[in-house]
């Protein structure tokens, strides 16, 4: 790898579709989320720069490390979360901007990378030496078990459709046969993926691990300053990456041409608003209810979608 490639790669992951770009767009989307929630609650809601001010303030505040907490785990957790978010952003946008560089199996790598922020929460919660952190971490663990199954089933449907586990090929397949979502199995798989993304993002019906009124923020209870800022930033970035993944996988080819990029943005907003409306009209479910819901309905529909895809629908 020559020096030029290294700087290009670093620029690619850290600036353009990586940390900076995803962070900024993610924070803007968080503003869209808070604005839509405010409109539904018939109030004005925050100005557009609010998420930037929040994260900026958090990064500037003093970080308090609880006495006796294992400093390594406590400090590593936010970094884990932010790296997971950055790398998964890099891979998802790679399929859009540099399709030819995609490596075989980047879909599988994506599954692990999108799980990193959740693992960051678990490590953070466990190492924050507070009962709220511990309960939050254990809830996050069982929540991961719940939605990973549905997540994988939805991805398997896409793999069956596209016949390969490379994001670029999925794009290619959709270029030829049209968006996967039109096929019945694609539709079911997209619904399953949306529900799992809602849980992965920790949005309302499933924000069990970070329930503000029950366990005061769960793993985030002990975090302040930079740690909390990084966690909030990684959550904002995931709020861009996961819906982008849904659009890339299911809703038609996304190429680097301006026209398709605008279409991509429109579809992205549609998916975002769908997630927000689901968030606003639901109360938080209990952990056992969430497990029963995911292992019951979601896995059944996922299996159905996979079966239909295998048959060829």
């Amino acid at each position: 790898m020559s020096a030029l490639d290294v700087t290009a790669a670093v620029f690619y992951t850290l600036v353009f579709p990586g940390l900076l770009f995803t962070g900024v767009v993610g924070l803007l989307l968080t503003w869209v989320d808070r604005k839509v929630t405010a409109i539904v609650q018939s109030r004005v809601g925050p100005p557009w720069y609010q998420p930037f001010a929040d994260v900026g303030k958090l990064l500037a505040k003093r970080m308090v490390i609880p006495r006796g907490a294992p400093a390594l785990g406590f400090l590593a957790a936010p970094l884990l979360a932010i790296t997971g978010a950055t790398l998964s952003a890099a891979i998802v946008f790679q399929a859009v901007f540099k399709p030819e560089e995609g490596f075989i199996g980047d879909l599988i790598v994506l599954v692990y990378l999108t799980a990193l922020p959740a693992i960051g929460l678990i490590v953070g919660g466990a190492s924050s030496r507070s009962p709220f952190g511990a309960v939050g971490a254990s809830r996050e663990m069982s929540l991961i078990l719940a939605y990973e199954a549905g997540f994988l089933l939805a991805l398997s449907t896409v793999v069956v459709h596209a016949g390969s586990i490379r994001l670029a090929d999925v794009n290619l397949a959709q270029l030829l046969e049209g968006p996967i979502v039109w096929s019945p199995s694609g539709l079911l798989a997209m619904a399953v993926l949306l529900v799992c993304v809602q849980a992965k993002l920790g949005f309302l019906p499933f924000d069990i691990s970070e329930a503000e009124t029950e366990i005061i923020g769960g793993p985030l209870a002990e975090y302040s300053g930079v740690g909390l800022g990084l966690f909030k930033l990684s959550r904002a970035m995931m709020f861009l990456v996961l819906p982008a993944l849904v659009v890339v996988l299911f809703w038609g080819p996304v190429t680097a041409t301006p026209a398709s990029l605008v279409a991509f943005l429109a579809k992205l907003l549609v998916v975002e608003v769908l997630l927000i409306v689901a968030k606003v009209t639901h109360a938080r479910v209990r952990l056992d209810q969430a497990l029963r819901f995911f292992w019951g309905r979601v896995v059944v529909v996922g299996l159905l979608a996979a079966a239909l895809a295998v048959i060829g629908l």
Binding site: R43, T213, V280, A283, R284, R286, L287, Q289
Partner: protein, 302 residues
């Protein structure tokens, strides 16, 4: 106390019950994570606060009850201002309640949670909506009526579900019943003075009253003192005995149900934080249990 003063006190108590129940509905849904209804319930509630501010001069501490009557008469356009506010609240809360009745995520979190069987409700002698939600048919407004309640027909709403959902239904039905009561009181209110005339408040006389507050029966014991200052004043708030039932509510439930179960009693912790003895010389704070108090008392008076 003149009849008109009794009516004004009843109207204000029912207005307070309306805003208190709307407040609880909002807060309960905030505890189960449904912030939209929290915001909407408090949006519906705001006109009542402005109305009471117009009637009494303050949104919450009305300061209307005086010995012998009421501090201030109703403003003369009260009959034009109160009904439209009540109409607006009645139909908006009706539509909001109708919307949440079938919401599965709310029912899942409220039904079958925080159950307090009728026998346990009686054992813990809980009061108010908590008791009526468990099938205990008690209501101070009907059992020992005060103010203008003998002349108003109070409908006691009792549910037999014994869980948080039935307490919610009790509070919702009481909300509509209170709106009806205020309208009826406004129609029947007599004219006349609002303050009985008396020359001096005789010191060291005792007064005891029990009133159906939004959270249950509240009992006040007051003894007048020299220089029109109360000499002794003791309040037993309903949250005091409602809170005793928390262990029964929380038994065998997960952490997620704890906040909503405790919130379903609509507890007012400030009302229950009064048993505290401070040794004024050393400043040492001590909490007496019943046995210590009894033994202390017997020692002194043996």
């Amino acid at each position: 106390m003149p009849r008109r003063a009794r009516y004004i006190r009843t109207i204000l108590l029912e207005l307070e019950r309306i805003h208190s129940h709307l407040l609880w509905i909002g807060l309960a849904h905030h505890f189960i994570g449904f912030d939209t209804l929290f915001m909407q319930a408090w949006r519906i509630r705001e006109p009542v606060m402005w109305l009471t501010e117009y009637l009494t001069g303050n949104r919450k501490t009305y300061g209307m009850n005086r010995i012998g009557g009421v501090a201030r008469d109703l403003p003369d356009d009260a009959h034009e201002r109160i009904p439209p506010v009540l109409e607006k609240i009645a139909d908006e809360s009706a539509r909001a309640v109708d919307a949440i009745l079938e919401d599965a995520s709310i029912r899942a979190r409220l039904e079958g949670v925080g159950t307090l069987p009728t026998s346990a409700a009686k054992a813990y002698c809980v009061a108010g909506p908590t008791a009526r939600g468990s099938g205990v048919d008690i209501d101070a407004r009907r059992d020992h009526p005060f103010a203008a309640y003998p002349e108003l027909d109070v409908e006691v709403c009792v549910e037999h579900g014994c869980d948080i959902w039935s307490r919610t239904l009790v509070r919702v039905r009481e909300l509509f019943d209170s709106i009806k009561l205020v309208k009826q009181a406004l129609k029947q209110i007599p004219s006349g003075p609002v303050m009985a005339d008396f020359d001096e408040i005789v010191p060291f006389r005792v007064g005891v009253s029990s009133v159906e507050a939004p959270r249950g029966e509240v009992h006040h014991y007051a003894m007048t003192g020299p220089g029109n200052r109360p000499y002794r004043w003791r309040v037993r708030a309903p949250s005091y005995n409602n809170l005793q039932s928390i262990p029964a509510l929380l038994k065998g439930q997960s952490i997620a149900d704890a906040p909503i179960s405790v919130a379903s009693l609509d507890p007012c912790f400030s009302c229950t934080e009064r048993i505290q003895t401070v040794d004024t010389t050393t400043g040492e704070v001590r909490i007496y249990r019943q046995e210590d108090l009894l033994s202390e008392f017997r020692k002194r008076h043996a």
